[in-house]
Symmetry: C2
């Protein structure tokens, strides 16, 4: 370090989601040493988690080992660990099961977590969909409920076969549609010894429409398709309590269920609470226009963990400005932006400009909605094919793409699903855990 040659700058990226990997790829090959930190050793392709939860895809199809991405890149390292804090004085990222990591630049890209809005019982008894473990957990629960109803007649009438989805945004619509199809097309045949059509899928939305960010025509289309396919869509219903065996609505009504999917809202990953930064909406870190943290010019926050103003603030506090949505594209473009800022090194910070590529949501077989920045809104088969193609392109790794493509083709042609396994664990942590120091 003292021998004349300038020391390579060290960039630590916390989080291997869309944002973190986008920044790492942009930095790769330049004159910096990069370390990506994540609690998992794989990147999770969140947009397809609902298909894992409804037995359409394997868990491994939507997960890609981070080390595979950077296998041939000597200056990108990986660390499987959880951040426990930052030592600002010595400029170290502190980790739970790894030696501390020195940094010159820090990129925080830790994503979202479910927001339960303080609803009693929701955190304990509902199934969110923000991690691979939650996706397989939901799949196991749905299949277990069917096994249980088949094995014990009493469970055919006590709500075990009611599946409730809370939240009518894209995630809620996708899960409800896919659950309806799973039950109607696959489980009804698997469970031929009982009447599987007793099962009900109920979608609860507090507002007066589904898919709030979409156009009115797309919203109506989504509602129609879901209803045609047997989903009970109920608007204006607010959840006030979640119990192990029922959900309670604001009207006082109780719907018996053992499976409540929570898709009602997101907040920043609670990890950001410990970092000592000023937080904005949804627990997200307030950032300047260049995505740096005010007062910390070498720390950037990207993606779902950043509270990013979408335009000029109408007042001095900036509180009234609209915010960028929690979308993969915001994270990906933000990752590229901060990588460029770090590589540029000198000069005044440049503001981040988000290029809106549009939004899409799938409702089920041959039905989706897509609203692109050009052209008219798409509905039905065309939007569905666009959705399939785009997700294949953004999925990481040729093997995963091939596997997802084959699974989709199989599911489409045979009306079958693949891995409807109830597979709970991968046991035994009784052997010496090597993570203790």
């Amino acid at each position: 370090v003292t021998d004349g040659a300038p020391r390579r700058r060290r960039v630590v990226i916390v989080g291997a989601g869309f944002g973190g990997l986008s920044a790492a790829r942009r930095l790769d090959g330049h004159d910096v040493d990069v370390t990506v930190v994540d609690r998992n050793n794989f990147h999770t392709f969140l947009p397809l988690l609902y298909q894992v939860a409804t037995a359409g895809l394997n868990a491994a199809d939507v997960a890609y080992p981070v080390r595979s991405v950077f296998q041939r890149h000597q200056h990108v390292a990986f660390r499987q660990a959880t951040v426990t804090g930052i030592d600002w004085e010595r400029r170290l990222v502190l980790l739970d099961a790894a030696d501390p990591l020195p940094f010159d630049h820090l990129i925080i890209a830790v994503g979202s977590a479910p927001n339960f809005f303080g609803t009693p019982g929701a955190a304990e008894h509902s199934f969110p969909l923000y991690s691979l473990a939650q996706a397989t957990g939901l799949r196991n629960q749905v299949l277990r409920c069917f096994e249980s109803a088949d094995a014990q007649v009493a469970h055919q009438r006590d709500g075990t076969l009611n599946f409730v989805v809370v939240g009518g945004g894209p995630t809620g619509v996708e899960v409800a549609g896919a659950l309806g199809e799973l039950i109607d097309k696959v489980l009804a045949r698997d469970f031929h010894t009982m009447d599987a059509r007793r099962a009900r899928v109920i979608l609860l939305e507090a507002g007066d429409r589904l898919l709030a960010p979409f156009s009115t025509r797309s919203q109506r289309f989504a509602r129609q398709v879901l209803t045609w396919r047997g989903v009970d869509v109920r608007l204006g219903e607010q959840v006030t309590e979640v119990r192990p065996d029922a959900v309670v609505l604001a009207s006082g009504e109780e719907i018996p269920t053992r499976t409540l999917v929570w898709a009602a809202g997101v907040r920043a990953n609670p990890l950001v609470d410990q970092l000592g930064f000023e937080l904005g909406r949804g627990g997200r870190i307030r950032v300047a226009a260049d995505l740096s943290v005010p007062g910390h010019p070498d720390v950037y926050v990207i993606g779902d963990s950043a509270d990013i103003a979408a335009g000029p603030a109408p007042d001095a506090t900036g509180d009234g400005a609209p915010r960028l949505p929690q979308l993969a594209q915001v994270a990906i473009q933000g990752g590229r932006h901060v990588a460029d800022e770090i590589l540029r090194g000198e000069g005044a910070p440049r503001p981040f400009h988000y290029f809106d590529k549009g939004i899409m949501a799938t409702i089920g077989r041959r039905a989706a909605v897509a609203e692109l920045p050009f052209g008219p809104p798409l509905r039905g088969m065309v939007a569905w094919l666009a959705w399939l193609g785009l997700h294949l392109v953004y999925l990481m790794g040729m093997r995963n793409r091939a596997s997802v493509f084959v699974n989709w083709a199989w599911n489409y042609l045979t009306w079958d699903r693949g891995p409807r396994l109830i597979f709970a664990g991968s046991g035994p942590p009784t052997a010496g855990a090597p993570t203790d120091t």
Copy 2:
């Protein structure tokens, strides 16, 4: 039941392994009602578990939902449950989370469990390979040890990178060979920031040769290939204790390791201990020549849970007779035999005759041994191709076959592995478990 038409006989099959499914398929379409009971909702293709454990295949590739097999068969039902006992008076199979099942004929096909021979610590701290959860547990452990050694320098020298396999039978040889390849070809590239070649694979065998049931030439070949590929093969080494961080040998030597694979022996599934039958070798149920339980002509035991004499007994007790090995073919042929016995209904019981189709074991890439009932023993590439082909044929479900084939082709051509994910759980059992009565 009283209206003249004879009641269809009810057959309950406990266990959805090779034996149980073979019996169910043979009975299907005949004048009987069949119910298959298993604690999992899927059949596990045990011969490929070691490939899941070494990140060559997905968990879902070697598991096949039982209900898929019998989706179009109205007279074969499935029950996901564990047998808690048998009510002989009322002829009911009692289950833990399901209504009791009445039976006229009972087939017990519950398979094997690891035999620790009372070795202290082995049950608590070792990784056996008899279930899908154990296979993914071993995969997670191996990958976690590498992550840990990369994250904390101290773990590069404390035995975290020692992987010990106990038992030189086919399973031990297969695991040791596949682990060696995983480390040498894949993890060495993934972990380019440390010297992954510090990692060692050690195969301990208590006897004086590997692959005891094979010919001497096959045994030598296996040992040579393993040694060439960097596995430390140590014969005549007996394990006396397993600790969380070391294994102790009879010589007093201690090998530091956090990952001990137990492939040293099998016994019958402990479930059979509760059924009140007379047990023979390895805790297996003693059966008559027709595979029925002496004194219970309507109860049959097949596969690994049966203690089956391979020939006429040299003495009256039958104790000295050789026994049939624990092989898939014994279970499959036994399943067909007892199905035929049940369907025949009348006449004297017919003895089971096992047709030996030979044995094979794979050692690694392009290396296997195979000894078929005809022709000379095969070694190397030819045996390896025979092994691949046969396992594809016996694997259940076209989708699984396609997926395994694609994975094998990919692994072979790219020297890569697929799903090296550390993926522990599929959470949250906090929501209402529907299995309680």
